[in-house]
């Protein structure tokens, strides 16, 4: 059995509902091009709502040190994950082809989907198979 945590769940619930309504209104009313205000406000609302759920509904505010220590490394690891994959696209502005283009694995040239040296070899292998009558 665990200890009971006393907080006003109804108050948290109403706050979450109001914040969600405000967030949807913010996302709808702020022009999509005003990204600084749009994204800044939306992230603030999301963080606030997430924090309320995490601290009260999930009882983190009332947990002991060991549970807090279990979760403590995750923000650091989140940054590690994001920064580890960021270099994959950080140089996209300097690409000499469109993002998502298929590149030939041999010479790096842009090729049509289904062509390229690897696919050509693959097709040639199939052709050989057919010629042997399999």
């Amino acid at each position: 059995m665990s200890e009971q945590h006393h907080f006003n769940a109804n108050k948290i619930f109403v706050t979450l509902i109001i914040l969600t309504a405000l967030e949807v209104a913010w996302g709808t009313l702020i022009p999509y091009d005003a990204k600084f205000f749009l994204w800044g406000g939306l992230l603030a609302f999301a963080f606030w709502k997430g924090l309320l759920i995490f601290m009260y509904f999930m009882h983190m505010k009332f947990e002991g040190w060991i549970v807090k220590c279990l979760i403590a490394p995750t923000p650091f690891l989140m940054c590690v994950v994001v920064f580890a994959i960021m270099p994959d696209v950080a140089m996209n502005g300097q690409l000499d082809h469109e993002l998502g283009d298929q590149l030939d694995p041999v010479d790096g040239a842009v090729v049509e989907i289904g062509t390229g040296s690897r696919n050509i070899e693959h097709t040639a292998d199939h052709g050989d198979d057919d010629s042997t009558g399999h």
Partner: protein, 209 residues
């Protein structure tokens, strides 16, 4: 081995071997179930961090990104977000009920949570069907690939949560839980709230930003 452990009495053993009685638990200073579920949730946080982090990196690296409002039904999903938040609240009410020894209240609130969670899944399935009808398939472009990856994995978690809550509900109907024994409800509730928390972030990132 289990008989030996069951027969072990530290008070008897201490007198025989002349050492003091240790009456502390050598485990972590928290319920083992709670320790395990938080460890599991930490891995789940990293799982969704991988998805969301990849989404953020792909999106910031893309030359252009469509306005989600032009492709997705934000109003329906906003209503679905309300629904999931309500289900979190009903789980909290269920836990509060059993903490007071109200078994009927637990059955009622848990049942309501399962119903509301199922509605959330139903709305998401409806959304997928409508999108498929309009040709919005996961292999269409980067927007749809990331959309289906993130909302799909979250949807699977909601389904697992509904199954978990259903198991708890069946046990609750049988009178399994009391005011002194409700840890299983708390653990299931933690998972459900986590699923709710992830959706709060996904809704903002995928549908509104």
């Amino acid at each position: 081995m289990s008989k030996a452990i069951a027969a072990y009495d530290p008070a008897v053993d201490a007198a025989v071997h002349h050492h003091p009685i240790y009456d502390y638990d050598s485990g972590p200073p928290v319920d083992r179930g709670k320790f395990a579920i938080w460890l599991f949730l930490a891995t789940e946080i990293m799982f969704f961090t991988g998805l969301i982090g990849t989404y953020v990196v792909l999106r910031t690296g893309a030359p252009s990104w469509p306005n989600p409002a032009a492709r997705l039904a934000v109003d329906i999903t906003a209503a679905n977000t309300f629904i999931l938040i309500v289900s979190s609240w009903t789980v909290v009410r269920g836990l509060a009920a059993i903490q007071k020894g109200d078994q009927g209240g637990l059955v009622k609130w848990l049942g309501l949570s399962i119903l509301i969670g199922s509605v959330f899944v139903g709305v998401q399935v409806y959304e997928y069907i409508e999108l498929f009808k309009h040709g919005a398939l996961p292999n269409q472009d980067l927007f749809w690939s990331t959309f289906y990856a993130m909302t799909g994995f979250h949807g699977l978690h909601v389904i697992v949560g509904v199954i978990w809550l259903s198991c708890l509900w069946i046990a609750a109907v049988r009178g399994r839980y009391t005011a002194q024994d409700y840890m299983a409800i708390e653990l299931g509730g933690l998972y459900w709230h986590f699923v709710d928390l992830v959706w709060v972030l996904l809704f903002t990132l995928v549908y509104l930003m």
